[in-house]
C-alpha cells in the first residue's frame, strides 16, 4: 500500500471516529446550545447546521493537513492526492454512518436505551436538519437520508483537500519561510535580541510585577463577587495541597497516592473539634486549625515510619491504600460515634479576627491568600537550603545520597510530615469554608487531582503548582457549561500534556550558586594546579 493511501487511511479513520464519537456524546448539540446563548438566538434553525458544518470542516481540515504533512508534498498534485484519499476514506465512513443512523431514526427507534446521549434530535441535526425523523423507511433511503449522507461525504472531501493544499501552500511554500524570518527579525529589532529576557529579569520589572500582584490580591476579592471568590478560593486551597504534595513528590521524590488522607485528617480534626455535634468541644477557629495541622503532621510521621524503605510503585500503592482505609473508616458504622459516618460533620467554626467574625466569602478569600503566601514562603526558603538539597539528592539517587551522608529516613519523614501539615491546613480551611465536611470530600480523586496539578504545572516548581491549580481546577470551574465533558477533557489533557510537555507548564531550574564572573564559556582546567592548596 503506498504511503499516501496509508496516510489517508489512518487520518481518515481517526477523524471519522472522532466525528462519530462526538456526535454520539451529543457534543455538537452542547456547543450549538452555547453558541445560541452567546449569540442570543434560539437553538433551532440555522445555528446547529452552521455549527455542524464548521466543526466537521475543522476536523476534516486538520485531518487533511496531517495526512499531507506526513508526506511532505512537493507538488500540488501530491498534496491533492493525500487530501483526496483522506477525505474519501473519512467521507465513506461517515456516509455509511449517516445512512445507518438515518435509517434508524427514520424507523423511530430511539437509541437512547443503549447510547444515552444520542437523542433523535441529535441525529436530525447531524443530518443537516433535513426532515429525517418519522418518515416512511421505504420512501426514505433514496431520498433524505441519502442526501444527508452525501452531504457528509462531500464535506469531508472538501475539507481534507483544502487542508492538504494548505499544507502544500503555506507550510511548504517559500513565502512562509520569509514570513517567519521577518517576524523573528522584527522582534529582535524592537527588543534588542535578548531584550525581552533582560526586561523580564530587570529588578524593577520584578518589583513592579509584585506590587501589581499585591494590589490585585487585595482588591479583587472585594470586587469580583462571591462566585469568583468561591472558585478562586478552591483554587487557592488546591495550591496549598499542591505545595504540600510538591514537597513529598516533587522535592523528596516519594510517590504518594493517598495524599487525601492528610487532607481528611485536617478537615475532620478541625470539624470534630469545633462542631457541636458529636463532641461539643466547640474550640475556637485558630486553635482548631493549629490542632488540625499538628495532627496531620503526626499522621504524616506515623504513615511514613513503616514505608520508608518501600520502592516507588509499592509506596504509591500502599499510600493509596492508606487513603482509602482512612476514608472507609471515617464512613464506617464502626467509627460513626467519632466521625458521624456518611452524614458528615456540620456547623463547623468560622474564622474570627481579634474576636470579630471573619467569615464572609471575601474574608475567606483573604484567609486563603494569606495561607498560600505563607506556605509559598516556607517552601521557597526550604527549597534552596540544606534540607531542600538533601531532598533533591534523595529523589535523584537515594543510595548515593545516603552514602554521601544524608540521613535518608529522617529527611523522608520530614518531607511527609511537612507535606501532611500543609494538607492539614488546607483541610481545615476547606471544612470551615463549607461549614461541613463528609467522607465524599475525601475520595481518591482528590489525591489524583493534586498529583496531576503538580505534574502538569511543573514538578518542584512553585509557580508551576499555582499554574497547575489554575489549569486543572480553575478553568474547569469556569467552563460549567461543558460540565459533562469536563472530566473527559481532563483525562485527555493529562495524556496530551505528558506527551507534549512532560516537564510541566512552568518547569523549574536550579539556582545559580557559583555565579562565576569570569569569561563567557569557562572550560575544563587542568588538574595540575600546584598553586592551589586546601586546608584541613
Amino acid at each position: 500500500m503506498s504511503t499516501p493511501i496509508k496516510n489517508g487511511l489512518r487520518s481518515g479513520a481517526i477523524s471519522s471516529i472522532i466525528v462519530i464519537f462526538i456526535t454520539i456524546i451529543n457534543f455538537l448539540q452542547v456547543i450549538s446550545g452555547m453558541l445560541g446563548k452567546l449569540l442570543g438566538s434560539d437553538t433551532t434553525g440555522m445555528i446547529p447546521i452552521i455549527n455542524l458544518i464548521i466543526i466537521l470542516f475543522i476536523i476534516g481540515f486538520f485531518s487533511g493537513l496531517s495526512s499531507a504533512k506526513e508526506r511532505e508534498p512537493d507538488t500540488w498534485r501530491a498534496a491533492l492526492l493525500s487530501g483526496l484519499y483522506t477525505g474519501l476514506f473519512a467521507g465513506v465512513i461517515l456516509f455509511v454512518f449517516s445512512l445507518v443512523i438515518g435509517a434508524v431514526a427514520a424507523k423511530g427507534i430511539d437509541l437512547r436505551s443503549y447510547l444515552s446521549f444520542f437523542a433523535p434530535q441529535t441525529i436530525q441535526q447531524y443530518m443537516f436538519n433535513l426532515e429525517v425523523i418519522d418518515l416512511e423507511l421505504a420512501a426514505l433511503v433514496p431520498g433524505v437520508v441519502l442526501t444527508g449522507a452525501v452531504y457528509h461525504l462531500a464535506l469531508q472531501v472538501a475539507a481534507t483537500v483544502i487542508g492538504s493544499i494548505f499544507v502544500r501552500g503555506f507550510v511548504r511554500g517559500e513565502w512562509r519561510k520569509n514570513l517567519m524570518i521577518s517576524l523573528s527579525q522584527s522582534t529582535m529589532v524592537t527588543t534588542g535580541g535578548s531584550g525581552l529576557k533582560q526586561f523580564l529579569n530587570n529588578r524593577y520589572t520584578k518589583y513592579g510585577f509584585f506590587i501589581i500582584l499585591f494590589v490585585l490580591l487585595i482588591v479583587l476579592p472585594r470586587v469580583w463577587g462571591s462566585y469568583w471568590n468561591y472558585i478562586m478560593g478552591t483554587v487557592g486551597i488546591y495550591v496549598l495541597l499542591g505545595l504540600g504534595l510538591n514537597i513529598i513528590v516533587g522535592l523528596s521524590g516519594q510517590l504518594v497516592l493517598g495524599y487525601v488522607a492528610f487532607f481528611a485528617i485536617g478537615a475532620y480534626s478541625f470539624a470534630l473539634l469545633t462542631a457541636p455535634v458529636p463532641h461539643n468541644l466547640l474550640w475556637n477557629f485558630w486553635p482548631a486549625v493549629g490542632a488540625a495541622i499538628f495532627l496531620a503532621a503526626v499522621a504524616g510521621l506515623l504513615l511514613g515510619l513503616p514505608i520508608l524503605n518501600l520502592r516507588g510503585d509499592y509506596l504509591a500503592i500502599v499510600t493509596l491504600g492508606f487513603g482509602e482505609i482512612i476514608r472507609n473508616l471515617i464512613r464506617s458504622d464502626l467509627l460513626t460515634p467519632l466521625t458521624l459516618g456518611p452524614r458528615g460533620v456540620r456547623e463547623i467554626a468560622q474564622p474570627t479576627l481579634f474576636g470579630n467574625p471573619f467569615s464572609s466569602d471575601i474574608d475567606f478569600m483573604y484567609l486563603i491568600i494569606v495561607a498560600v503566601l505563607i506556605l509559598i514562603y516556607i517552601t521557597y526558603r526550604i527549597q534552596n537550603s540544606r534540607t531542600g538539597r538533601a531532598w533533591l539528592s534523595i529523589k535523584d539517587d537515594e543510595t548515593v545520597a545516603r552514602a554521601s551522608g544524608v540521613n535518608v529516613y529522617k529527611y523522608k519523614l520530614l518531607a511527609l510530615s511537612l507535606g501532611a501539615a500543609f494538607a492539614g491546613l488546607g483541610g481545615a480551611i476547606f471544612a470551615s469554608r463549607n461549614l461541613f465536611t463528609g467522607p465524599e470530600d475525601h475520595i481518591l480523586m482528590v489525591s489524583i487531582n493534586v498529583l496531576c496539578l503538580i505534574i502538569v504545572g511543573g514538578m518542584g516548581s512553585i509557580p508551576g503548582v499555582i499554574l497547575g491549580a489554575f489549569a486543572l481546577k480553575g478553568i474547569p470551574e469556569m467552563l460549567r457549561d461543558f460540565e459533562i465533558y469536563r472530566m473527559l477533557a481532563f483525562g485527555a489533557l493529562l495524556v496530551v500534556m505528558m506527551i507534549v510537555r512532560p516537564e510541566g507548564l512552568w518547569p523549574t531550574g536550579r539556582p545559580k550558586l557559583e555565579k562565576y564572573k569570569g569569561e563567557d564559556e569557562p572550560e575544563l582546567q587542568t588538574l595540575d594546579n600546584p598553586s592551589e592548596s586546601e586546608g584541613a
Binding site: 514562603y377 516556607i378 526558603r381 526550604i382 537550603s385 540544606r386 534540607t387 531542600g388 538539597r389 538533601a390 533533591l392 539528592s393 529523589k395 535523584d396 539517587d397 543510595t399 548515593v400 545520597a401 545516603r402 552514602a403 554521601s404 551522608g405 544524608v406 540521613n407 535518608v408 520530614l414 511537612l418 536550579r510 539556582p511 545559580k512 550558586l513 557559583e514 555565579k515 562565576y516 569570569g518 569569561e519 569557562p522 572550560e523 575544563l524 582546567q525 587542568t526 588538574l527 595540575d528 594546579n529 600546584p530 592551589e532 592548596s533 586546601e534 584541613a536
Partner: protein, 266 residues
C-alpha cells in the same frame, strides 16, 4: 604508621556465589593502596563491603580500629569515608556546585526551621558552603562550570565532580572505583598526579580499584590482587609485577613461566 582500614576474614555471598572469600586487607594511614584483579574478581564487592553498601556474611571491617561492618552508609560517611562509583552516579538534576554542597551535608548543621526563619546560623552556613563549593570546583579544575546541571557536563568533568563531591566530606579515607575509566593517556596522567596530590597535600588515605596498570604501578604504595574473590597476592608494585600467581590470574595458567622466559631473554 597505623592502619586506617582493615578487613579481617571478610566474606560476602550472593546466594551460592562466593563474591569475596575470606579477604584480609590492611591499609596503612596515608597510603595509596590499589585493589586489582581480573573482571569479576570481587573488587567492587569488596569496596561495597567496606563502605557499608553490603553487609558481609562473615568477617569484620575496621576503620580506625572500630568495627563498621553492617552500619549504614550515612553513618560511615560521617566517620570520614567517601567514595566514587564505577558508573558515575552524580545527582544529575542538580547543578555541579550543588552536588558538592550535598557532599558537605554530614558536616553541616542547619535544619529546615533555620531556613524558614533565616537564622544567623543559616546565613553563615549557606555562604560558607557556597564558598567551599567554589573552592572545590577550582581544586578539581571545574571553576566556572558550577551552575551547569550535572548531567550536562562532559564525561571528564563528571568524573572530577564526583571526586569533588567526595572531597567535600573532608574524608580521611577516599575510595575511588576506576577513576581513570574511559580516559585518554593525557587525562589519565593528570588524574594520576591529582590522586597523588590528594594524599601528599591533604593526607587522605586512598584506596583504589584500577585496571590501568600504569596508574597502579606508578602511584601505589601497596597493591592487593584479587581473583575469584580470594586475595592471591599483596605487596609493593615491584613484587606484584613479577608475582607468578598474579600473572597467571590475568593471562592464564602457564603464563608465568612464559613471562619468566621473556624476561630472561631480555
Amino acid at each position: 604508621m597505623s592502619t586506617i582500614l582493615e578487613t579481617r576474614n571478610l566474606s560476602k555471598f550472593f546466594g551460592g556465589l562466593i563474591a569475596v572469600n575470606s579477604v584480609d586487607l590492611s591499609v596503612p594511614e596515608q597510603a595509596i593502596a590499589s585493589i586489582i584483579g581480573p573482571n569479576g574478581a570481587g573488587k567492587t564487592t569488596l569496596f561495597n563491603c567496606t563502605s557499608g553498601f553490603y553487609t558481609p556474611e562473615k568477617g569484620e571491617v575496621l576503620f580506625q580500629d572500630t568495627p563498621i561492618q553492617g552500619q549504614s552508609t550515612d553513618t560511615i560517611a560521617t566517620l570520614g569515608i567517601a567514595r566514587t562509583y564505577q558508573n558515575i552516579r552524580l545527582f544529575s538534576n542538580m547543578t555541579a556546585i550543588e552536588n558538592i554542597i550535598v557532599g558537605q551535608h554530614p558536616r553541616l548543621r542547619t535544619s529546615w526551621f533555620d531556613a524558614v526563619i533565616i537564622s544567623k546560623r543559616f546565613r553563615n552556613e549557606e555562604s560558607s558552603v557556597i564558598e567551599e563549593g567554589r573552592r572545590l570546583l577550582k581544586y578539581v579544575g571545574l571553576e566556572g562550570l558550577g551552575d551547569h546541571l550535572a548531567r550536562n557536563l562532559p564525561y571528564g568533568a563528571q568524573r572530577r565532580l564526583e571526586i569533588a563531591r567526595a572531597l567535600a566530606n573532608q574524608p580521611k579515607l577516599l575510595l575511588l572505583d576506576e577513576p581513570t575509566a574511559g580516559m585518554n593517556p593525557n587525562e589519565t596522567e593528570e588524574m594520576t598526579k591529582f590522586i597523588k596530590r590528594l594524599r601528599d597535600d591533604l593526607g587522605i588515605t586512598i584506596l583504589l580499584i584500577e585496571h590501568d596498570m600504569h596508574v597502579v604501578m606508578d602511584i601505589s604504595d601497596q597493591i592487593t590482587v584479587l581473583d575469584y574473590g580470594t586475595k592471591i597476592a599483596e605487596g609493593a608494585p615491584k613484587e606484584i609485577q613479577s608475582n607468578p600467581k598474579v600473572i597467571e590470574a590475568y593471562l592464564g595458567p602457564g603464563a608465568a613461566v612464559l613471562s619468566e622466559k621473556y624476561r630472561r631473554k631480555k
